[in-house]
């Protein structure tokens, strides 16, 4: 953990025009995330967590405030400059997986490298390695339609990892998965933080998913309501290994939010 935060946003605000009314989706947010942290961002719908995620991912620009990513001010960059930042520094994992249909897992994973101008042979090598990391090397030739939801999300994680970005942003990554598969995916993310020191910001509205992170940021009405470390994160691998009934029982009796 270095002294300078990897993600550093100061007084970030975002306004939308909804008809004649101005909606303050974000109303002055300060957040600093250091390298190697696993941050869960929770909150009700409309709390501003998705807007925050879009700004963190350089998909959107804040109306006010500054955003420094890896020491670089990316607040007001052009669309193309932000595309480069996304390609170099950020990996995305989405709720709907967002893989290209009718395209093999390997080709999906290669895609970010295409926009980086990497040669075909090098792309193939790196993409295979990333698929190995998520345990799907033998499914390289399958298209998304031939894969289960959990497998698709692991391909998406491989695609996010293939450029070896410092930051991985996950927007409701388990929203479309059943409980067991959710824990498998989370186990994979926890393992990545441990092994490769990647920094993860994860948006969720499920308390037991947030419990796997090392820090929980709670949003409400466009502000950060609570920001607290999670001293004993849940080990998702252990949960995933439990028999089905036991998982449900443990969840019911587990620590509340």
């Amino acid at each position: 953990m270095s002294d300078r935060p990897l993600i550093d946003i100061e007084q970030v605000g975002k306004d939308y025009l909804s008809g004649p009314e101005v909606v303050h989706a974000l109303a002055g947010v300060d957040l600093a995330v250091h390298s190697g942290e696993f941050v869960a961002i929770v909150g009700a719908s409309g709390s501003g967590k998705s807007t925050l995620m879009n700004i963190l991912g350089c998909l959107d620009r804040p109306t006010r405030g500054t955003y420094r990513l890896a020491g670089v001010d990316v607040t007001r960059r052009t669309a193309d400059a932000r595309a480069i930042v996304r390609n170099r520094l950020i990996g995305f994992v989405f709720q709907g997986f967002n893989l290209l249909p009718r395209t093999t897992a390997l080709e999906n994973v290669e895609l970010p490298l295409v926009y980086r101008g990497v040669s075909a042979r090098q792309r193939r090598r790196q993409a295979r390695h990333a698929l190995e990391q998520v345990g799907l090397a033998e499914r390289a030739g399958h298209t998304p339609a031939q894969l289960s939801g959990g497998q698709q999300q692991r391909v998406a994680i491989a695609r996010a990892l293939v450029t070896q970005p410092p930051v991985l942003l996950a927007d409701e990554p388990t929203g479309n998965l059943d409980t067991r598969t959710s824990h498998e995916v989370l186990a994979l993310l926890q393992n990545l933080v441990r092994e490769s020191g990647i920094t993860i910001a994860l948006v969720t509205h499920e308390a037991d998913i947030a419990a796997c992170a090392s820090r929980t940021v709670t949003m409400r009405d466009g502000r950060i309501e609570r920001d607290e470390p999670n001293r004993e994160p849940r080990d998702a691998a252990a949960w995933a290994a439990m028999p089905h009934g036991a998982v449900d029982a443990a969840m019911l009796s587990g620590p509340g939010p």
Partner: protein
Amino acid sequence: MNRLWSSLRLAFSALMRRKARASLTALGILIGIAAVVVVTALGTGARERIGSQIESLGSNLLFVFSQPVAKSGARGRPGAEMALTDRDAAAIHRDASAVSAVTVYSEVKAQVVSEYDNAKIGVMGVDKYYYPVRGFSVDDGRMWTDSEEQTKAKVCLIGQTAIDKLFGNVDPVGRYLRIGRHPFRVIGTLKAKGQSPFEDQDDRILMPIGSWRARVSPTLGDRVMLIMASAKTAARTGQAKRQIEGIVRQRHHIAEGDEDDFKVRTQEQFKKSHDAVFNILTALLVSVAGIALFVGGVGVMNIMLVSVTERTREIGIRMAIGAKRHDIQLQFLVESIALTLFGGLAGIALAVGLIVLIHRTVGWTMRLSPEAVIVALVTSVLVGLVFGFLPARRAARLDPIDALRHE
């Protein structure tokens, strides 16, 4: 280069996913390009054919023909429209320094009878200069002699088409044919010359002008239909024309400012006026074919817009993982160009097939120039570029967040 290659592969696989749609869209371009190529080939072929026919008339030719002056509504007596005479031709030969040879020519379509068959054939009275001026030569037999010309002997030479009509496969030399009341002896045959813009140059019988006046068309006196002159060189054609005009005006007593009763045209003028006609015709047909191509292009634009809308989510994903605007724009542009180029190639193939087919069945001369093929290919690429630009730009300007949310 690497990026362009992967764009091409990407475009190809995107098109292959929707084969039926891509083929139907390309069909519009195919028809447009094929129409342009076929029409151009027709125009070029026709122009070349007319050009070579005019060449085949002879070299550096000038044509002098009568042009009756309409002084009143009344028409003169028959033959009055023939204002030119033998003596005009002789004067041109004597006085025009830029002219190397002069010949006269009169023709009637007459019923000609041989021992085998009969047919209506152009019978021409000419002098011996007609041969070098018009580029005719004797194939078999012989030319008439000076004494035969002076004595208005009943001899003639016969062209290849006329031989077919009257004698079939029989050698005509030494045989007789009858025109009106008079029998004529065939003393020779003419070398084949082919089509001119006006007529089949081999469907003719030539005889001395004296014999023609005496026996075929005795009412005309020394008047001739046409005087043909050969300029000494191509460069002196203009000079020859002015000299001829001067001589004939003087001989016909035409005052300064009065209208000529004759006209001089050069071979070059014939060629130019024919070229002009064909250029206009070709331009007209090409613009009609161009409309077909334009409609095809609009079809491409339409399909590309549909494709961009359908793949909005894909565009969002690509943008999220680092595609810049021009990456997206290039992807869709390459796709539309691949579509039109495919249509263009197929269109050229269809055009080649049609050209061969038309040539074999209808017998039109068509010329497919390499330039036309290159222009067709460049055009199909341009159509893809122009009509793909708007959809590609629309794709590139999508907001990544909206695109990702698109269902």
